[in-house]
Symmetry: C2
DNA sequence: TTTTTTTATTGAACAGTGTTCAATAACTTT
DNA sequence: AAAGTTATTGAACACTGTTCAATAAAAAAA
């Protein structure tokens, strides 16, 4: 029995070895510029081997996608200690934007890269769901304290996420150049603060 | 002299013939799934010829990118007849979202697809600049009527664009599934209306 | 311990990609 | 008609994701 156990551990080791290589190359060169051969040679194995441990390229992507959400969620959950829900909500926005700035490629994988057709019902999107729920429940808490009244929680949450995502997506895809003489950081931070100003009046 | 003239016309004809083929294939299969060979065979010419009329694939992309902005701008400029700037601003958002819904692939090319490194300073971004200016000047008009006071025009415009883009980008990249039991149209429209509600209180 | 069976790994092959370029066809000018 | 330009081709190069027969390595059975 102990032998099958060790075998499984070795298999797990190889899996994470591939993921480590893949993560490095993916985050260095972006999704499209990364090839299976790149990943394989990064860890000094043959390309064919990757298909013994993963179904295809999108399967590896899928794993890193989940990894990104775990990272984001861990950073968001730190804010649970902020008692006031509106303060927490505002801080969540900052954390989200900082996450995108510091993990541009993760952000791409999570929110922008074309997803393989079957993904939406796969487990990779369950964890995305979790992030949405966190946002929605915070909005609901705000409402219980009198904010955002008469607003549908789901639509309002979607709107907030859209604003955050818009800021980050324009940044990630270099569509900020049209706002000359302002750095990305200024634009994103002050842009978000404009939004917060709107929220505060509501 | 008349001969050189005709030659140039023929060259122009070939150029647009390529662009027509490229547009068809691009908008059918998306950017990444379109190959130079696809485009060439669409118009029954050899792949090599494309490189006689365009530098590379991104050069063709660039031309369609501008085309998309011309289309969007033409739709936005219809709203010039709306006298009240705030009403106009709100309508611009609707037009923007509808443009994304009806021209998903153009929208991709314009705002999401990875741009070739040199593009930001090319003429393709001048026309993007024009759309931004239209937004900014409308915001400024609103301010002159007492709205959005104490807000920096540039940051505020960026924030509005971000919200719109966020809504459209989540839609274009199928990241709306997490908001179950709601269609994309509902989500986008009502999400935007939440945002308008915020603007109205400001 | 040797033989058989299972598992892990390779590398060549397939069909595709963007791009280049020598050859050639078509057309203009001399 | 000959020379010179311009337009067009198709083969070639170096890449891509993926598959698969062959093989090496390890485990189980004899």
């Amino acid at each position: 029995m102990g032998i099958a156990e060790r075998k499984q551990e070795e298999k797990q080791e190889m899996t994470t070895r591939i993921l480590n290589g893949a993560r490095k190359v993916f985050l260095e060169k972006g999704y499209e510029q990364t090839s299976m051969r790149n990943i394989a040679s990064e860890i000094n194995y043959s390309p064919g081997l990757l298909y013994f441990y993963f179904k295809d390229k999108s399967d590896i992507f899928h794993e890193l996608h989940r990894e990104g959400f775990r990272l984001l969620l861990s950073q968001l959950k730190v804010l649970n200690k902020v008692a006031d829900p509106f303060e927490r909500l505002k801080a969540m926005g900052h954390v989200f934007i900082e996450f995108a700035q510091n993990n541009k490629d993760y952000y791409n994988l999570m929110f922008i890269v074309e997803v393989p057709a079957k993904m939406p019902e796969s487990s990779g999107f369950m964890i995305a769901q979790e992030a949405i729920s966190l946002l929605a429940s915070t909005v609901k808490e705000c409402q219980q304290k009198g904010r955002f009244k008469d607003m549908d929680v789901e639509y309002f949450s979607f709107m907030i996420l859209s604003t955050l995502h818009g800021i980050c997506a324009l940044f990630c895809k270099d569509r900020t150049a049209s706002f000359a003489n302002k750095t990305n950081e200024e634009l994103m931070l002050h842009g978000y603060e404009c939004f917060v100003a709107l929220l505060e009046k509501s």
